[in-house]
Symmetry: C2
Subunit: 244 residues, 2 copies
Amino acid sequence: MSGWLAIAGLGPGDDRLVTPEVSAALAQATDVVGYIPYVARVAPREGLVLHPSDNRVELDRARAALQMAAEGKRVVVVSSGDPGVFAMASAVFEALETRPDWQALDIRVLPGITAMLAAAAAAGAPLGHDFCCINLSDNLKPWEVIETRLRHAARADFAMAFYNPRSASRPEGFAKALAVLLQECGPERLITFARAVSTPDQRLSTVSLGEATPEMADMRTVVIVGNSATRRVGPWVYSPRSAK
Amino acid sequence: MSGWLAIAGLGPGDDRLVTPEVSAALAQATDVVGYIPYVARVAPREGLVLHPSDNRVELDRARAALQMAAEGKRVVVVSSGDPGVFAMASAVFEALETRPDWQALDIRVLPGITAMLAAAAAAGAPLGHDFCCINLSDNLKPWEVIETRLRHAARADFAMAFYNPRSASRPEGFAKALAVLLQECGPERLITFARAVSTPDQRLSTVSLGEATPEMADMRTVVIVGNSATRRVGPWVYSPRSAK
């Protein structure tokens, strides 16, 4: 039996946002690999081995998954959201780069509902016009790169979605980002904090940049900053389709 | 019986990429509203009225859907991909803005797999680092806005996903965009053309910007331009997680 590797997105949390394609891959798998809380979302069954691993060991995890696929196993690497957006797909390809003998393996990337799109849907349509998507974690890039990107994004008048806005280990980064945004976009610009979207812990709040504080975000929060035309309608926030 | 409106994303084409949440809404609907080819993806059944409409009548369609929900019907507005990304969600909120009496209606936005994420998954992980998403159609914004955004995106070193790159009515726009990108990013930058992803017509091709021609895209194509670190590994294209 020949092995394969599927890099799959479980969506933001609600099982009704897991695609049938991903469910089918999980049903055929012999092994599931991923960060502990994501593997915990996969129902155990006879014949399925779960391999939960800690955060920040993405490359080790990717290599282990590729090794199992090379040995003939049917392996699903699970991410939350979409595997191609700040998740495991890039880590698997990084691992593949060092092992040309693995490059002919049967590998598929199975898309999922990424957090910003679930957050946007819960809030209305704040990403309904051109937008950008930035990982605010400075684990893998220097702050200067983040600041440059924020300034270009503001000057392009993109709406912006931010992943990993804040963690206990770097509490100051998000405060600096908010200061840059306030300077570039002004205090009236709308900002939406969407925490744990589609789970029982979901919490949504939209304020102006002038009212925003770093404590409004944690690592389970996706932050969406509107463009200059983003506005409220009833309980919703949306970006119009047109721009002048 | 009280009516509701769901603005739902059908994903890029493959039924295995339709979320169970969207399938459930369609199963409960009395009326489905949308652009002709998207409504054609919904299976007819007893008790379900299909309302296909032409392209470029988004606001009329949104108003009709809201009116039906106000009358007590259970209405699903269908978009391909995700309804919040260059699709019907913003049009519904625009229509809602002119009718405060409709703002208390039961409205939900149901996210879907948007074309760029399906395209990225098929190609590898070109959106695995910070990126932006631009609608290249100049129906709703002037070319100058598009050009400014392209230049900021390039200088921010974002990977970029483009929707609606090219149509018969404006064949020159995409050629201009390619010229701006070539100037800003240089001829070696990778560009992926992903046509009709997840359908039987899927066609994927990655070339350098120096090799790219406008004819490589049509209105069924999503185009992804890598960032300065995006590279090939085996048959794949990916953007590394880190930046210097």
